[in-house]
Assembly symmetry: C2
């Protein structure tokens, strides 16, 4: 994966040069992924966990899950021992779905990045942060809310690349609405490859687009490498309750067949796509996700997969989805325990919120979602930065605000170190009633002692006022602009770049435009 | 404690009458305190906990803690088996401080409110939320930041009374700077009694003021009742590192001698009043707090007490204290485990932040502090609402924002119910691919199904924009005003009220004013 220098970037304007001195031009040294030395939070007792598993089993067995329009998936399930009723309803005998997963799904796997230093470990006590996925709109403080474009898409890939705390480039960081809908996936995958060297996700809107995404990885990594290594994820939503449409099931099978990792995500808005009670939604979510992970194993045993969930509650006043509420937090903790018992990596949502702007509502809700995701032991946290407005908008300001927050979880993950941490010598040196500011222990440790939010203002009221009295939203507005100005693309081998461009052009030519 | 109707409130202006229809005039039915059925988060291993206890023991034994200027406290410690070096340095043999606490401090106690329905249980798996304590400034969106007054103080007592999620009226909810400094405690304690019927805290700025606070409780509850029941808390800061000034130790002894509960709070800004490392700050905090709780037990065995902590990290850029950072979060989890092992109720700080306004920084930081306090198993959460600017300001808007957040922790505390929660009948009724909105299970459960933040806007972008596009700060501004307009005082027995007023007047007359 060695590569010559990329073509020289356009000459920076003076303002960009100034900004570059402040912001870092390349991602600073940071771990390629987070490793937790602290334990996960164990909410449910053994008895409680068994009850959820039993109810999930009962849903799959008695009621069943429909795969609408994928005869091959039905055939695979029948061969594995499931009963089929009607045309598409799959009834899985109790325990079989979990048994299939346990038998062959890896507990932990590496997703390789084109820069090997940025490959991520998914599963175990590792956590990978990826930006928000899917918003049709973007917003910033200057331009307000508008449809996303390919330029916005590239900007968020660049900002993700620039963040030391986002390990993964994500997938549809926003919808590039200015590109015909059937061509977008090609431009998106290319943008992830071209503007970043972090690992990324491919298309899931059709099996053919999933295949395109994987084919582009073959051009980038080599077909042999892709056959035996995970290099791309595909985030597939279940049509909850208890339906997997044929396109989604084919996408799962496409990724699995190529030895790549589907992320299987029940999408449950409690009271709409599932029951209003947390126990019921949790059992449903676990049943649906396990069913989909098992389908990937039936397609290709041993292929990697991630067990996902998307759980939201609902406003009683309006019926709108709500985020940062306690019910999904409880479900996160439960599904985390279930995934560990099953031995499969877990995806949770990260900094989710319903607020229309990056205000205090957005921040409370995001933290209320991120804390349980982290303590639940989530291995892959999607929507970890930028998410606004129940996922309808990707916000430039919230992106950098969330990213700053993610850094703190790296410190939290390390727990309490006790090597020189007890500082007995310092206590002996200082004694009662004196200050530690100049002590040898403080001088030796202060630079790495505390996580320091880059965007937080901890100054006095007077100094803060004198500097304009800006809130976090306004400071974040300056921050993302300086990061974009300082952006420099990572090197990419010109021959591979050329092959990728050629593939994109050829595929686009082969199909008529479909407007978005 | 039965009482006749209070005097009729002034006739409400029309706007108040309208507001009253929206906001509730009296606190809605809500539990007087929170009971957790979910387990606390266990961060440290047995080995780790023993290491912290061992280091805390070593600090108390080898280095010692000075009680500067309280000969009676020194005498108590000497009689208990401590070595005294120099005039004030108390060296406590290893394990003795914990042994004294274990021998007689209650694991759990009731703090009685004048309205018995609002008495709170402190300790065990219970959690009590109280507003911020100590800010000299107040702020709101209209008037900006200014010194607090007695009217502000009363307003925050009223707002706390109106909140279903704050269980406790707190203490110095803001400094009433317009009252002479030596008279403030009388007006503050009277305001808690007059404008609320929730439990409260007394003065700690001198032993005489603590005695005044307790004396007022005797007038309210009856002297015999106070002698045998906890009715007031006193929040006492340690002069960290390893110093307890004589006034603070006398205040601890004053509360304990009256069978009331001192809250013993090491105040450690890491790198200044303690080492920069979390393990060191945690050991110091545990040592200091245990020492103070033990002092209360030496004064009166069996008297109630709370083990507190105030831990902050520091900005490397400015040396300013920071909040919502991961280091104090880790320490919260550790001190929670240590307090449970010791068998004494724990105080943590709640919605702490460094931000100057109730923006996204304030919200992220607050949630980053509240989540670990809650999962650490804190029994008494001070600063749970209103805190801004590292504790320098009490914010009207942040108060109602934080209070709304506290409600969610009540739901979280209940965990995942599994009685009808698994909703098997609903799954059978709905089956795959249909909606639960009209199902019998949804209709039977939706009203209690989800916590709904009162101040969150979950509407569509279009509706939110049409309604003015207000952020949470602006909505909170309307909220606290409507709550204050709707406020109605709880009944108070006129004879006791008269006795309290007379006491305040007499005590004020007995001393010359000291300007604040």
């Amino acid at each position: 994966m060695s590569a010559p220098e990329p073509p020289a970037p356009r000459r920076a304007r003076p303002s960009a040069r100034v900004a570059r001195r402040k912001a870092r031009a390349t991602p600073p040294a940071a771990p390629p992924y987070l490793t937790r030395t602290i334990p996960p939070y164990e909410l449910l007792s053994e008895e409680g966990l068994v009850a959820v598993e039993r109810h999930a089993d009962q849903l799959l067995d008695e009621i069943g899950l429909e795969i609408r329009g994928d005869l091959e998936a039905i055939r695979l399930w029948r061969a594995a021992g499931a009963r089929i009723s009607g045309e598409w309803r799959v009834h899985v005998p109790r325990g079989l779905a979990r048994e299939i997963v346990r038998r062959s799904a890896p507990r932990e796997f590496t997703q390789h990045a084109r820069n090997p230093a940025r490959s991520v470990q998914i599963g175990g006590n590792h956590t990978v942060f990826a930006p928000a996925y899917g918003p049709p709109f973007v917003s910033d403080l200057d331009g307000g809310r508008r449809y996303g474009t390919l330029e916005d898409f590239r900007n968020f890939v660049k900002l993700t690349y620039a963040s030391p705390w986002l390990h993964h480039s994500g997938g549809t960081v926003c919808e590039p609405v200015d590109v015909p809908v059937n061509e977008r996936h090609l431009d998106m995958v290319y943008a992830h490859i071209r503007y970043s060297d972090k690992p990324f996700m491919g298309s899931v809107t059709s099996a053919a687009r999933a295949a395109d995404s994987i084919e582009m990885c073959r051009l980038l990594f080599g077909a042999d490498f892709v056959e035996s290594h995970c290099v791309i994820l595909g985030n597939v939503n279940v049509n909850s309750p208890l339906v997997l449409d044929g396109e989604a099931s084919r996408v799962i099978r496409t990724y699995a067949a190529a030895n790549q990792a589907p992320v299987c995500v029940p999408f449950i808005l409690g009271g709409a796509m599932g029951p209003v009670t947390t126990a019921g939604a949790l059992a449903q979510c676990f049943a649906e996700a396990t069913f989909c992970v098992a389908l990937g194993q039936l397609e290709r045993p041993g292929s990697p997969a991630i067990l996902g969930n998307f759980l939201s509650s609902m406003s009683l006043r309006s019926g709108a989805p709500t985020f940062g509420t306690p019910e999904p937090a409880l479900a996160y903790f439960g599904v985390g325990q279930l995934a560990r018992r099953l031995g499969v990596p877990l995806r949770c949502g990260g900094n989710l919120c319903a607020s229309k702007i990056a205000d205090a509502q957005a921040a409370y809700e995001s933290a209320n979602s991120m804390w349980p995701a982290f303590l639940a032991g989530a291995n892959f946290v999607l929507h970890a930065a930028g998410w606004l407005e129940a996922g309808l908008a990707m916000s430039y300001e919230k992106f950098v605000m969330d990213s700053d927050q993610l850094g703190a979880f790296h410190t939290l993950a390390r727990g309490i170190a006790d090597d020189n941490g007890f500082a007995l010598e310092a206590f002996r040196e200082i004694g009662p009633g004196r200050h530690y500011l100049g002590s040898a222990h403080t001088l030796a440790n202060y630079q790495s002692a505390f996580y320091d939010f880059q965007l937080a203002d901890n100054n006095s009221f007077e100094q803060w006022s004198a500097e304009g009295g800006r809130d976090l939203l306004q400071r974040a507005n300056r921050r993302w602009k300086s990061l974009l100005e300082a952006y420099q693309p990572p090197p990419l081998d010109p021959a591979r770049d050329e092959a990728l461009r050629e593939y994109v052009t050829r595929r686009k030519r082969a199909m008529p435009d479909e407007p978005g």
